[in-house]
C-alpha cells in the first residue's frame, strides 16, 4: 500500500501544494483515505500531520473510513425534495437495509447525503462512484440496487440511453441531459474553435483589455466585478508568474449552467482562458472543477490534450513568439465555500477551502502568492464572443449597466427546467412565461440561489441585472402548494450550516440559531419577538469574512420580508414569550439510558 502512495506522490513530484490531487488519487484507488497514512504522506511532502489532516477533514467527499465499493451520494437540495427525493431516499434505505451515513455490513455499499450536485433540472439525482444517476424514482432505485447486488459496474447501469449532445460521446457516456432551452451568443452552436485566438494574437494585450473594458462585461459568478478592470489590475501587478483561474465550482444550489458549458462548449471556455492569459501575461491556467462533475474528467483532459496538439496550448501558441500558456484541471472534493475566489485558490494550493482576508486581492497576491485572475466559466466564454464581434456589439445586448447575456439555470415548478441564455433586462414575469410556469400558480421565485432573494408575485416585474436583481443565474420556482418555510427556508439554512468553513464565529453560530428559531416556529412555539430577533441576529452575519457567511441569513431575511404572513400564521398571538423548551423531548434520552418510565 505504501508503494502505491509513493507512486502517487511521485506523480505530483512531492509537491505539497498538490495535496488535493494526491488525496483525490488515494481516495479513487482505495475508496477512502486511512488516517494511518497521514503521517506517511505528511513526511514525504514535508508537511506536518495537522496540515494533511486539515485538508483531509475539510472536504465532504474525502473519507477516512471505508465507504464501500459502491458509494451512493443522494442530493438533498430543495428541488430534489420537490421532485420526490423523500420517496427515493426511503427506497434506497429499504432496498439496502441501511440508513444514510452508513455502509452495509458486508462493506460493499455506502449511502450518503450530499448538497446540490448541479442537476436541479433532473432531480432527484445521485452520484454513484462518480457516475450521475438523474431522474430517480423508487422503481429505478430498486433496479440500481439489484444491479449493485449483482456486482454490475456502475458504467453499465444505464436505464435506457445517454443524455443528448456530448453526454453521449465516447469520453463522457453520461445519462445527464443538457436541457438547453434557449441559445444566445454564448451558447451559439456555430462557434468555430480558435477564431478569436487567431484574432487576439494580432492585437496587443492592452488592446485586448481595452476591448473587454469597452464591452462593460461584469463577472458572471454573481459578484459582478468588471472583467476588463480585473484583467488590467492583474496585468499591472508585479509577479514573476501570473495565473488564470476558471471557477467551475458552481455549488450554489440551483445552478447548473457551467455543467452544460463544460459538456458542450469546453473549447470555448479554454479559448477564453487562453485569451485571458495573453491579455494578463499569465503562463498557467487552472480550471477548478467541482468534484460532482468528475464524470467529465476524461473528456476535459482529452480536450486539453487535443488543444496542446493543435498548439492552442503550450509554447509559442499559434506561432506567436513568447506566448506560452498551459492549463491544468484541479478538482475540488466537495465544498461550496470553494466557489469563493480566495477559498478556491487556497483549495488549489492543497489547503482547507477557507476564504482569505482581503486585501490583498487575488489580482495582486493570488495563487502561490502571485497575481491571479479568477473568473467564472461563463465570463471566459463571453470574452471569446466579445473579441470576435467587438465590445460595441456586446453592448447591444442587455441594459446600460448590465451588458450582454446571462445563462440562467431554471428549475422547480415549471414545465421546462433547463438552461436559458437571455439578455440582461428580462423581468421575472418574462422568465415565467418563457419556462412554462403559469403566473397564478407561482407563489415565489428564488433568484440567485440560497444566497439570493426569495421574491413574491408583486415583485415579478423586477428585472434581472446588476442594477436590480443581481444573480449568478439560478432561479428556482415554487408553486402555491409548497410550504416555503419548511421546504425552502429551512433547507437553505441547513445548507449554509453544512457548508460553513467554520472560520468566522458569526457564520458558524448565527445560521444555527436561525435554524433553531425556524424549527421553533414550525413547532407552533414561536412568538412575534422571534421574527424580530431573527432579523436582528441575521445582521451579525455581515461581519463574516466571505460572501457565504454574509449571505447565510438571506433565506430567513428575504422570506420574513416578503412572506411575513406565512410566519405570522404559525406564531402564538397572545403570548409574549416562549422559550420553546420541550421537557418531554429533553428527557427522552435520559429515560431510555436508565430504563426509566419518566413521571414528569
Amino acid at each position: 500500500m505504501k508503494a502505491s502512495i509513493e507512486n502517487i506522490l511521485r506523480k505530483y513530484q512531492h509537491d505539497s501544494t498538490r495535496l488535493m490531487d494526491i488525496l483525490l488519487d488515494i481516495q479513487d484507488e482505495l475508496g477512502y483515505i486511512p488516517e494511518a497514512y497521514v503521517p506517511h504522506i505528511a513526511e514525504l511532502l514535508g508537511l506536518s500531520d495537522a496540515d494533511v489532516e486539515q485538508t483531509l477533514s475539510f472536504y465532504h467527499f474525502f473519507s477516512t473510513r471505508p465507504t464501500g465499493k459502491y458509494r451512493i451520494y443522494l442530493n438533498n437540495s430543495v428541488v430534489a425534495y420537490m421532485m420526490g427525493r423523500s420517496e427515493v431516499a426511503a427506497a434506497f434505505e429499504e432496498a439496502l437495509g441501511i440508513k444514510f451515513g452508513q455502509v452495509t455490513p458486508d462493506g460493499r455499499v455506502g449511502l450518503f447525503e450530499t448538497s446540490c450536485i448541479g442537476m436541479n433540472d433532473q432531480e432527484p439525482a445521485a452520484i454513484i462512484n462518480n457516475v450521475i444517476f438523474p431522474c430517480l424514482t423508487p422503481f429505478r432505485v430498486r433496479e440500481i440496487v439489484r444491479d449493485i447486488k449483482e456486482n454490475k459496474p456502475v458504467e453499465e447501469m444505464i436505464n435506457y440511453q445517454y443524455g443528448e449532445g456530448q453526454n453521449a460521446s465516447e469520453m463522457v457516456r453520461s445519462m445527464v441531459s443538457n436541457n438547453i432551452r434557449k441559445v444566445g451568443p454564448v451558447l451559439d452552436p456555430h462557434y468555430k474553435v480558435g477564431e478569436a485566438l487567431k484574432k487576439v494574437i494580432s492585437m496587443s494585450p492592452e488592446e485586448v483589455i481595452e476591448e473587454i473594458k469597452k464591452s462593460n462585461i461584469r463577472g458572471r459568478g454573481g459578484a459582478g466585478f468588471p472583467t476588463g478592470l480585473k484583467w488590467e489590475f492583474c496585468r499591472k501587478a508585479h509577479g514573476e508568474k501570473k495565473y488564470i483561474f476558471c471557477n467551475a465550482d458552481e455549488g450554489e444550489p440551483g445552478t447548473f449552467k457551467d455543467r452544460v458549458i463544460l459538456t458542450e462548449l469546453p473549447r470555448l471556455l479554454l479559448e477564453g482562458m487562453i485569451i485571458a492569459g495573453y491579455a494578463v501575461g499569465a503562463t498557467e491556467g487552472i480550471l477548478y472543477v467541482r468534484y460532482e462533475y468528475r464524470y467529465l474528467k476524461k473528456y476535459l483532459e482529452e480536450i486539453l490534450e487535443n488543444a496542446r496538439k493543435k498548439n492552442y496550448l503550450g509554447k509559442s501558441i499559434l506561432g506567436k513568439e513568447g506566448f506560452d500558456f498551459d492549463i491544468r484541471i484541479q478538482f475540488g472534493a466537495g465544498a461550496y465555500v470553494c466557489g469563493e475566489e480566495s477559498a478556491l485558490i487556497e483549495s488549489a494550493e492543497g489547503k482547507r477551502g477557507e476564504p482569505r482576508d482581503r486585501p490583498p486581492f487575488p489580482v495582486e497576491k493570488g495563487y502561490l502568492g502571485m497575481p491571479t485572475v479568477v473568473n467564472n466559466v461563463e465570463t471566459f466564454c463571453s470574452v471569446v464572443k466579445i473579441i470576435l464581434n467587438g465590445g460595441e456589439w456586446y453592448k447591444s445586448f442587455g441594459t446600460e449597466q448590465s451588458t450582454g447575456t446571462k445563462l440562467l439555470s431554471i428549475s422547480g415548478d415549471c414545465r421546462y427546467p433547463g438552461v436559458y441564455e437571455v439578455a440582461w433586462g428580462f423581468s421575472v414575469n418574462d422568465i415565467l412565461d418563457m419556462v412554462g410556469a403559469s403566473k397564478n400558480q407561482v407563489q415565489a421565485v428564488q433568484v440567485g440561489g440560497p444566497s439570493g432573494s426569495l421574491i413574491e408575485p408583486d415583485e415579478f416585474n423586477r428585472i434581472l441585472g446588476y442594477e436590480d436583481l443581481s444573480t449568478g443565474g439560478s432561479l428556482i420556482i415554487f408553486g402555491h402548494h409548497r410550504d416555503l418555510i419548511r421546504e425552502v427556508v429551512l433547507n437553505f439554512t441547513n445548507f449554509f450550516i453544512d457548508e460553513s468553513c467554520g472560520s468566522c464565529s458569526t457564520c458558524r453560530i448565527v445560521p444555527v440559531l436561525l435554524r433553531n428559531k425556524i424549527e421553533k416556529i414550525l413547532n407552533a412555539r414561536g412568538v412575534e419577538k422571534d421574527l424580530d430577533e431573527m432579523l436582528e441576529w441575521a445582521k451579525l452575519l455581515k461581519a463574516s469574512r466571505c460572501g457565504l457567511g454574509q449571505t447565510a441569513g438571506n433565506p430567513v431575511v428575504t422570506s420574513i420580508k416578503n412572506f411575513r404572513h406565512l410566519y405570522e400564521r404559525m406564531i402564538q398571538k397572545n403570548k409574549e414569550y416562549d422559550a420553546g423548551f420541550d421537557l418531554q423531548a429533553a428527557i427522552r434520552d435520559g429515560a431510555e439510558a436508565t430504563g426509566r418510565i419518566p413521571i414528569v
Binding site: Y577, A579, G580, A586, D589, G590, T594, R596
Partner: protein, 183 residues
C-alpha cells in the same frame, strides 16, 4: 421605611459558588437584610415558597427534570428573574457534556469508567425518586424568560451587591469596569 423586597434564590446545575460569592458581600449582608427579606432559599433553608417574591436569583442551568420544575416555579413566583453566573446564563461547566451523547456519559460514569469498581451488578441509578437527566444541559433562558443576567464564574461579590442593591432600591448604579472584568 418602604416595604422590604422579597428575594428567593436557588442553585440548579451549579456548584453553589455563586451563593458563596453572595456571602462574600460580608458585613454588607447586614445592610441587605435591612431592605430585603429572604423567602425560599438555601441561605435560610426555607424549602417552599410561602408568598409571591419580587426577585428570584438563579444559579446554575438545567441538567435534569427537577431543575426545570424548580426554574418554572421560580418564574411563576418571582416578578424579576435573574440568571446569576456562567452556568445559569450559558450552561457553564456542566454543559461540557453537551457534545457527548447522554448514554455515553452515563456508561462512563457508572459502567466503563476506570474508577468504577464497586458496581458489580452493572446497574445505573434508576430509582423513581430521582429526577431524569436531560439530553443536554440548558441555560435558563432556553427554558423560561430571564430578565437580567449577572456574569461571572462566580460573579464578583461587589457585582452581586451592586446589582442587587440597584434592583431593590430601583436606582441606577455605577459599576466599575474591574468588577465585571474577568480575565
Amino acid at each position: 421605611m418602604a416595604e422590604k423586597k422579597i428575594i428567593a434564590t436557588t442553585s440548579l446545575a451549579g456548584c453553589f459558588g455563586c451563593h458563596m460569592s453572595l456571602l462574600d458581600i460580608d458585613e454588607r449582608m447586614l445592610d441587605l437584610i435591612e431592605v430585603v427579606e429572604f423567602n425560599k432559599s438555601p441561605i435560610n433553608d426555607i424549602k417552599k415558597f410561602t408568598r409571591k417574591c419580587d426577585i428570584g436569583l438563579i444559579e446554575g442551568g438545567c441538567c435534569n427534570s427537577e431543575n426545570v420544575h424548580v426554574l418554572k416555579l421560580f418564574r411563576e413566583s418571582c416578578k424579576i428573574l435573574v440568571a446569576v453566573g456562567e452556568c445559569a446564563i450559558m450552561g457553564g461547566l456542566p454543559a461540557m457534556r453537551n457534545g457527548i451523547p447522554l448514554k455515553e456519559c452515563i456508561d462512563e460514569a457508572y459502567l466503563n469508567g476506570i474508577t468504577v469498581h464497586a458496581n458489580v451488578n452493572k446497574t445505573v441509578p434508576n430509582d423513581p425518586e430521582l429526577p431524569v437527566l436531560l439530553d443536554k444541559v440548558y441555560p435558563c433562558s432556553a427554558v423560561v424568560k430571564i430578565d437580567y443576567s449577572i456574569p461571572g464564574c462566580p460573579p464578583h461579590a461587589d457585582l452581586l451587591w451592586a446589582t442587587l442593591y440597584a434592583l431593590v432600591t430601583g436606582k441606577e448604579t455605577e459599576i466599575p469596569y474591574e468588577v465585571f472584568k474577568y480575565d
